[in-house]
């Protein structure tokens, strides 16, 4: 069971590497894409931690993030397109 925590540590490190792109990105679109990918990696780490601690209720948060996480991206793209 310890390998699950190890894998999720690697995913969080990848999310930290995406924070560099959040810092460096020349335009707003790069930052939006990086934030969306950070959301997805967070979902994966959450699922792995839920399987580690054997509680089914922890998966609801991952479900919420996976369903609702794209609305922010959609709205930002509508804003950049100029029609909201």
């Amino acid at each position: 069971m310890n390998s699950l925590i190890f894998v999720s540590i690697i995913y969080i490190m990848l999310a930290l590497a995406l924070c560099y792109r959040l810092f460096k990105g020349p335009s707003a679109v790069d930052r939006v894409v990086a934030a969306d990918s950070i959301d997805l990696l967070t979902v994966v780490a959450l699922v792995l931690f839920a399987v580690y601690s054997k509680r089914a209720i922890y998966l609801d948060i991952a479900l919420t993030l996976a369903i609702l996480g794209f609305i922010g991206t959609l709205l930002i793209s509508k804003y950049l397109e100029g029609k909201l």
């Binding site: 601690s53 509680r55 089914a56 209720i57 922890y58």
Partner: protein
């Protein structure tokens, strides 16, 4: 483990206060209020944590007999605090929109000068 949590919460609160005090843009001030909210919520949850406990929500047959809970009272407090924080953010943004409609700017200095 918990010491690092407390340090992070205090740094978050200080960052929020720094943003509120020094930035000149109204939207940036509201963003600083959001950061301060995150810091306080994290601090409240970290107070109620006990190592090795599980969550205080369960269905029957899911837990062992030897498992124990983390403290549920700060979680209830924080649940209220998050909702109130969202409402405060919405109200502050409405005020920002009205200020922009009246004065035509977002800079704090110019608004104060027009008022004086």
């Amino acid at each position: 483990m918990l010491l690092l949590n407390y340090i992070t919460c205090i740094i978050l609160i200080v960052l929020g206060l720094y943003t509120i005090v020094t930035k000149k843009n109204f939207m940036k001030i509201v963003i600083g209020m959001g950061l301060l909210d995150y810091g306080i919520n994290l601090l409240l949850i970290s107070v109620g944590f006990k190592a090795g406990g599980t969550a205080p929500i369960f269905t029957i047959n899911e837990l062992d007999r030897s498992s124990f809970f983390v403290d549920p009272v700060p979680q209830a407090l924080t649940l209220t605090s998050i909702v109130i924080g969202a409402c405060v953010t919405a109200l502050a943004l409405a005020l920002v929109i009205m200020i922009n409609k009246h004065y035509g700017t977002l800079d704090t200095d110019k608004v104060r000068r027009l008022k004086g």
